[in-house]
């Protein structure tokens, strides 16, 4: 069991961190170039040069292109109309069509941004050319914003995801193990033997908590080492602070697990309930979707999500180098949560039926 407990999360960390990406690469790009001028060819070359797009096909008509999209062989295509170059030079402006397969809405949004960016850059490039040709008096005055991304300068999604996934793994392992634990002893019959001993309720719960607590802390250590070695995720803050927080956080999860375990009669029931909570916690943690864009009531619910606290804190400490005073409010909430959950765990453990 012990190797499983460590090997599986490590595999998950490595696989998920590479797979759970917001970046979209290898977009199949097609185009209809009815103009076939130097400007239209220049635009296609821009797409070819981009690392995000794979130019796969040149279609002879828009109908052909839309059939290809229907079949799913292209994700996006650009339609350049006839006399594109001529009209552009004459009117100083012209439109081209960008068609995006929007089955996956968020991917479509990203593709749209990438495509628009390429077209806009190209537009700026040819605009200066055109202006240069016609009248050089009016120099374009453009205001460019230069975005600065703090704490994750290169917008490396792994820097962002790895700590979050680490939180998930620590949470899942500790919740499942503790959730199955007491109920397993009920099934085997050893719990009855324990119940006829004069053991105190809190002694029993502490005895159940401790091994999993050690395990969770060990798992965090392994995960952090991998994060550093494999993904080179920065650890700016104090590790001791992170560990101090985690030691309280794991108590929340374990208390929850033991509470579930006390309330169920079979391991299947316990597993089912643990899954129910884990799925909600993960999807509402802010790890995969920003909490700010959730409806108000959902945002309120996330206040009771321990994973959200930990995801926030691990990112603050690792990526921002936040100190004790920065995480203090969340840490206090976590502590209160831990006290409540473990109180419930002790309370729900009944030595008599």
């Amino acid at each position: 069991m012990l190797p499983i407990i460590f090997i599986l999360p490590v595999l998950q960390l490595v696989i998920l961190s590479n797979a759970a990406t917001y970046e979209i690469k290898n977009i199949s790009f097609g185009y209809v170039d009815a103009d076939n001028s130097s400007i239209s060819r220049g635009l296609i070359e821009r797409f070819e040069a981009s690392t995000y797009f794979n130019v796969t096909e040149k279609f002879s008509s828009q109908k052909e292109a839309s059939t290809a999209m229907q079949e799913g062989s292209v994700d996006v295509y650009v339609n350049i109309p006839t006399h594109f170059e001529r009209d552009l030079q004459k009117n100083k402006r012209n439109d081209i069509g960008v068609f995006v397969d929007a089955i996956d809405g968020s991917a479509a949004g990203v593709i749209n941004v990438y495509a628009t960016q390429i077209i806009r850059n190209y537009n700026k490039h040819i605009a200066t050319d055109l202006i240069h040709v016609s009248d050089s008096v009016q120099k374009p005055i453009s205001i460019d914003s230069i975005p600065l991304f703090w704490y994750n300068k290169t917008l490396n999604y792994k820097t962002f995801m790895v700590p979050g996934i680490l939180v998930l793994l620590v949470t899942m392992i500790t919740l499942f193990l503790s959730g199955m634990n007491i109920v397993r002893e009920k099934e085997i019959g050893t719990l009855e033997q324990i119940n006829v001993t004069p053991i105190k309720k809190y002694q029993f719960i502490i005895g159940k908590l401790f091994p999993f607590w050690v395990l969770g802390m060990g798992l965090l250590a392994v995960g952090l080492i991998l994060a550093k070695v494999i993904f080179n995720v920065p650890i700016l803050g104090n590790l001791l602070l992170l560990y101090g927080y985690t030691s309280v956080y794991i108590l929340v999860i374990l208390g929850m697990g033991l509470f579930i375990s006390n309330f169920t009669d079979t391991q299947q029931q316990a597993m089912f309930i643990a899954w129910f909570f884990i799925v909600i916690f993960i999807l509402m943690s802010g790890l995969f979707t920003p909490i700010e864009s959730m409806p108000k009531w959902a945002q309120l619910l996330t206040e009771f999500n321990p994973i959200k606290y930990f995801v926030e804190i691990i990112r603050m400490v690792m990526l921002k180098g936040s100190g004790f005073t920065d995480i203090f409010p969340l840490a206090i909430k976590t502590l209160a949560y831990a006290i409540v959950m473990n109180g419930l765990a002790v309370w729900s453990y009944k030595k008599t039926t």
């Binding site: 001993t197 004069p198 008599t352």
Partner: protein, 243 residues
């Protein structure tokens, strides 16, 4: 002969599950040092009654004291003074013999030295020298049962409750098991035992027979046989259980 005091006193004890009376107003006393056989067919209410006495199930009504403590209010004090062995083997299969002894000794508050001493005695008595460091799961059932019994006696309880301790065990091991029971009784421990084996009932000082939640007979095996005019406890049991 000095009149021995009662260690278990039960008066009109009942346990209802909804409308169903699993245990219906039973009354009896068990004296210190006695081997008390608690018989009954499957579903007669033996285990339910026993669970009330060992403090893991609250009675619906009636009175009961075990080792002088009230089952309603002083369940935890009862637990300090009794040992229990369930019909389901309930030591930790994934711990070794030694670890199980250390664990349960620890729960009952024995010191390291006491545990060490008890363990040596127990291992020698049961002849478990070879397997002290083996997982309990790997032992044959008979050995497991003897070990479970010995573990239930670790803290030298006044009373030990045995719920079908010899279920599924071969006759030789059963005989050895009863030798252990006699030995414990000889040392002053009261034995409260349920069984389905009527030959075992003959070994008891007194026997009660439960039918449908009530105690229908309670006396020494000898007197019961006289009363029901049969030669074996088996026939006594059949006469009662069939009504």
């Amino acid at each position: 002969m000095i009149q021995k005091h009662n260690v278990i006193e039960v008066e009109n004890l009942s346990k209802l599950f909804g409308d169903f009376a699993a245990v219906n107003q039973i009354s009896f006393q068990v004296k210190a040092g006695e081997i008390f056989g608690f018989l009954g067919a499957n579903g007669a209410g033996k285990t339910t009654a026993m669970k009330m006495l060992i403090g893991i199930s609250s009675p619906t009504s009636g009175k009961a004291t075990v080792a002088g403590f009230d089952v309603y209010r002083e369940a935890e004090s009862i637990k300090k003074n009794i040992g229990y062995m369930s019909q389901k083997f309930a030591l930790y299969d994934d711990l070794t013999v030694k670890e199980n002894i250390t664990f349960f000794g620890g729960i009952y508050g024995l010191s390291k030295k006491q545990i060490e001493q008890k363990r040596c005695e127990l291992v020698e008595e049961l002849g478990l020298q070879e397997v002290t460091n083996s997982l309990v799961a790997s032992l044959p059932l008979g050995w497991k049962q003897k070990l479970a019994f010995s573990v239930s006696l670790l803290h030298e309880p006044k009373i030990v409750f045995l719920d079908e301790p010899t279920g599924g065990v071969d006759p030789i091991t059963r005989r050895q098991f009863w030798e252990l029971i006699y030995k414990a009784a000889h040392n002053g421990t009261t034995i409260f035992v349920t069984t389905h084996y009527m030959d075992e009932a003959e070994y008891c000082d007194r026997v009660s027979i439960m039918v449908n939640g009530k105690i229908e007979a309670l006396d020494t095996p000898k007197k019961l046989k006289e009363q029901y005019k049969t030669n074996t406890m088996n026939d006594v049991f059949l006469k009662l259980a069939r009504g």
